[in-house]
């Protein structure tokens, strides 16, 4: 009887080893993929990063050189307008959710926010096209900003709610008992306490929309010139990467690699900022 048992045990232990080796292999291959992607980005991108990339507008097909200054300006413009629209709205909805927990309406609102987050960005592009581009008859940076603002809302709402829920009731009650209005209490007690989390939510939102192209295809459209007017169509960095990547020209591919590297480094930096904030400004009482 004994030897058989030991053999079974050995087999089970061998199985266990193979299983964990499998897990290790698969997880390491995930790590490997990340490394390969970053390696390619840096290898191909670093050689195309030069002063011209940041300081010049694109040149027409056939001429070498040129940069993506117009797209950098465009990206900053479209994203900042989107942030200005989305942050007040998102924070307000977040406050509402945190303050009215447990109601049926609140639960439905939370579901709606989750579903909103899952809507494909291209569909949001179509909707803004129908709402704004079609009636005004032209593509514009502003319409792109609205599409991106809608995409920014869910992370802002969720983060605001999650932080504000952590603020102790006693603090709010103390303020209200002193005779401060609900508005004053929210502005001076609740919001400052949750500022870290709200800020994190905003940066998550910006990181989410900065690399988006799909909602901009039929809203901000694209424009090879340097534009500061939000009523006109503009290029953004991801849009330029898309256009150049699907072109047959080597020179354009080079610029697309440079743009990709800039974009990825910037978004990774934003993520690092989020991490630092989450660690430092976590609500604790």
């Amino acid at each position: 009887m004994m030897p058989r048992d030991i053999q079974g045990l050995k087999r089970r232990r061998a199985k266990d080893r193979i299983f964990s080796a499998f897990i290790w292999c698969l997880t390491i291959s995930c790590l490997l993929v990340v490394t390969i992607i970053l390696y390619y980005l840096f290898k191909e991108g670093i050689s195309s990063i030069n002063w011209a990339l940041f300081s010049q507008n694109p040149k027409p097909v056939g001429e070498t050189g040129g940069g993506i200054l117009n797209a950098i300006v465009g990206s900053i413009m479209v994203v900042s307008i989107a942030a200005v629209i989305a942050i007040p709205l998102g924070v307000s909805v977040g406050i509402y959710l945190a303050e009215n927990r447990g109601r049926k309406l609140t639960e439905r609102l939370a579901v709606a926010v989750d579903v909103l987050q899952g809507i494909p960005s291209i569909v949001i592009g179509i909707i803004i096209y129908v709402w704004i581009v079609k009636p005004t008859g032209k593509f514009s940076a502003f319409s792109g900003s609205i599409a991106l603002a809608i995409m920014m809302l869910p992370p802002i709402i969720k983060n605001t709610e999650e932080t504000l829920v952590l603020i102790p009731r006693t603090l709010k009650e103390a303020s209200l008992a002193l005779g401060a209005s609900y508005f004053k209490t929210t502005m001076k007690i609740v919001l400052p306490g949750g500022l870290g989390g709200i800020f994190t939510g905003c940066i998550i939102g910006i990181a989410r929309i900065f690399g988006e192209v799909a909602p901009l295809l039929f809203t901000a459209f694209g424009n090879p010139e340097l534009i500061f007017d939000p009523r006109k169509p503009v290029d953004t960095i991801p849009k330029v990467i898309f256009t150049y990547a699907s072109s047959p020209y080597n020179d354009w591919h080079r610029i697309a690699w440079g743009g990709s590297l800039i974009l990825v480094v910037f978004i990774i930096l934003l993520n690092a900022v989020i991490k630092i904030f989450e660690r430092k400004w976590r609500v604790q009482f």
Partner: protein, 295 residues
């Protein structure tokens, strides 16, 4: 006087909060109405046959979305299939084997970087790396070798899905009750037995929610797929053939669509995409809610 202003201020604030909240809540309904109204010319012209029509020929004014529906479903499920072993392994690694420590930090950050890379960059990268590989394989198999096609798009898409399923699955796996695991260990189980007989079965709903949410994302993914799928409005014959997904046909043809029916047919595809992803997300959310109740 000042008091009255304070009261008014407060009133405005409360009204504003409810106003934007209700607006957000009915936003989805407004989206649905907008899409339905704008695709009405197409719904009227194409009829119900639009859903299973096999030909997409804008010149002849003949619109059927089956090629795109097929392309979308094949691409999404294939990419999900490819990513499943990797994401389950990574989730077990982070949630069970090494819940804390230096290795975990490295892996977790790496997976977060995967989530940070924009979709268009994935597409561009895939065009340079994965597409030539697939092309070589096709040459060996004596097939036409464009490199781009369903398989290429699915491989790149599967990489993009990993961070989404891992983050949710890691959380549910690490929340498995310790008593359950310890009971199994006390009976003499090995770690692999604990994982396959305790951890995975008891978290089956969380794991499926992770996959549902990734599926929702895969269905709507646009840019990477548009670059890699090869753009052919015909029913795909095998996983190597170039195809079109619903999202990528919209991305490619929307600004070039001439004529009302053509444009609104594209919007109708968008409407279908909206309905499908909304249902999948609602399902995923329902499953997650069930888990949080049972815990």
């Amino acid at each position: 006087m000042k008091n009255r202003w304070l009261v008014l201020e407060n009133k405005i604030f409360v009204r504003w909060l409810s106003f934007v909240s209700i607006l957000t809540m009915i936003l989805l309904l407004i989206f649905f109405i907008t899409l339905t109204v704008s695709s009405w010319p197409a719904i009227k012209a194409n009829g119900i046959g639009f859903l299973w029509g096999k030909t997409w020929d804008p010149v002849a004014n003949h619109f059927g979305m089956l090629p795109f529906l097929a392309g979308t479903i094949i691409t999404s499920f294939l990419s999900l299939l490819i990513s499943i072993p990797f994401s389950i392994a990574a989730a077990l690694f982070l949630g069970e084997y090494f819940p804390k420590g230096a290795i975990t930090d490295i892996f977790r950050n790496a997976i977060e970087i995967l989530a940070a890379i924009p979709t268009v960059v994935y597409g561009f990268w895939g065009l340079y790396t994965i597409a030539p590989l697939v092309g070589k394989f096709e040459l060996k198999m004596h097939m036409p070798a464009p490199g781009v096609g369903i398989l290429t798009a699915s491989i790149v898409l599967s990489i993009m899905l990993i961070p989404y399923s891992v983050s949710l699955m890691r959380q549910v796996i690490s929340m498995t009750p310790t008593t359950l695991k310890e009971a199994a260990y006390a009976l003499g189980s090995t770690r692999s037995e604990v994982i396959t007989r305790i951890i995975l079965p008891s978290n089956i709903s969380g794991i499926s929610a992770g996959f549902l949410l990734s599926l929702g994302r895969a269905l709507g993914e646009t840019m990477a797929v548009t670059i890699l799928i090869g753009n052919s409005p015909e029913l795909p014959r095998n996983i190597f053939s170039p195809a079109y997904t619903m999202a990528s046909v919209i991305a490619n043809e929307f600004t070039e669509a001439i004529g009302d029916v053509y444009l609104s047919s594209l919007i109708e595809i968008g409407l279908m995409l909206f309905i499908i992803t909304t249902i999948i997300n609602l399902l995923g959310r329902l499953v997650i809610k069930k888990i949080s109740y049972s815990l």
